[in-house]
């Protein structure tokens, strides 16, 4: 019974990682690749670690380490994906030609790297920043 559970968990985890890597290779755009990668690889590695925690039942340290790695991956993978996606949007990585809407277009201030809610305001702040660059008291 334990063997069946272990085989099921490891198969599902390995297939999830395989689908993540196929998506990384085949998706047409950086942002689509990023959104495929993070979720599927975190799920796959998490299932493999649960498999390891079941495999050593009489050792508490393995269970603790597995839960620690799963918690750390779930905590850090979205943060890393958000940071690299933001950096990619700033350096102007092109979107896919089938993209319907780009809601961040013009919202970022290029000078201060701040996110505005109004595109005119972002551009206006940039112009103000260029116009009186020595008067930055506001």
């Amino acid at each position: 019974m334990i063997d069946i559970i272990l085989a099921f968990l490891s198969t599902f985890g390995a297939l999830s990682i395989l689908f993540a890597s196929i998506g990384v290779l085949r998706m047409p755009d950086f942002y689509l690749r990023l959104s495929v990668t993070v979720k599927a690889s975190t799920l796959g590695v998490g299932l493999l670690l649960i498999c390891a925690a079941i495999m050593f039942p009489d050792d508490v340290s393995v269970t603790t380490k597995s839960i620690a790695i799963i918690f750390f991956l779930i905590l850090t993978a979205p943060i890393a994906a958000h940071m690299i996606g933001k950096a990619a949007y700033f350096i102007g990585t092109p979107l896919w030609k089938g993209t319907i809407v780009d809601e961040l277009k013009g919202m970022y201030n290029k000078e201060t790297h701040c996110l505005e809610s109004d595109p005119k305001k972002a551009n206006q702040q940039e112009k103000d920043h260029i116009a009186d660059s020595d008067d930055a008291t506001d």
Binding site: V24, V45, I69, A80, M83, I84, K86
Partner: protein, 90 residues
């Protein structure tokens, strides 16, 4: 088929093929951010391979290496994205 043979002949080849596919993206990625993302994914799959290897060899000490690899992958991606974002405005 016993579980040991299943790990040896099904799970580890699937993970190896995954690393090879991601390595193709690391090799030909159009921009720098693609390569950073592929490197992060390779390290994440490496954590899975270390886990399966520690199950197979019954050496639970190897999971410490997986913890360190997860930490290094996160810090590397954060550092790469920080410097990529700063590179235009000198």
């Amino acid at each position: 088929m016993s579980l040991e043979n299943y790990f040896d002949f099904v799970i580890l080849p699937i993970l190896t093929i995954s690393v090879l596919l991601v390595f193709i993206r690391l090799f030909k990625g159009p921009s720098v951010v693609d390569r950073v993302m592929a490197l992060d994914l390779i390290i994440t799959i490496g954590i899975g391979i270390i886990t399966v290897y520690s199950i197979r060899q019954e050496q639970e000490v190897l999971l410490d290496v997986a913890i360190i690899l997860a930490l290094i992958a996160f810090l590397g991606t954060i550092a790469f994205s920080y410097y990529i974002e700063k590179q235009k405005d000198d």
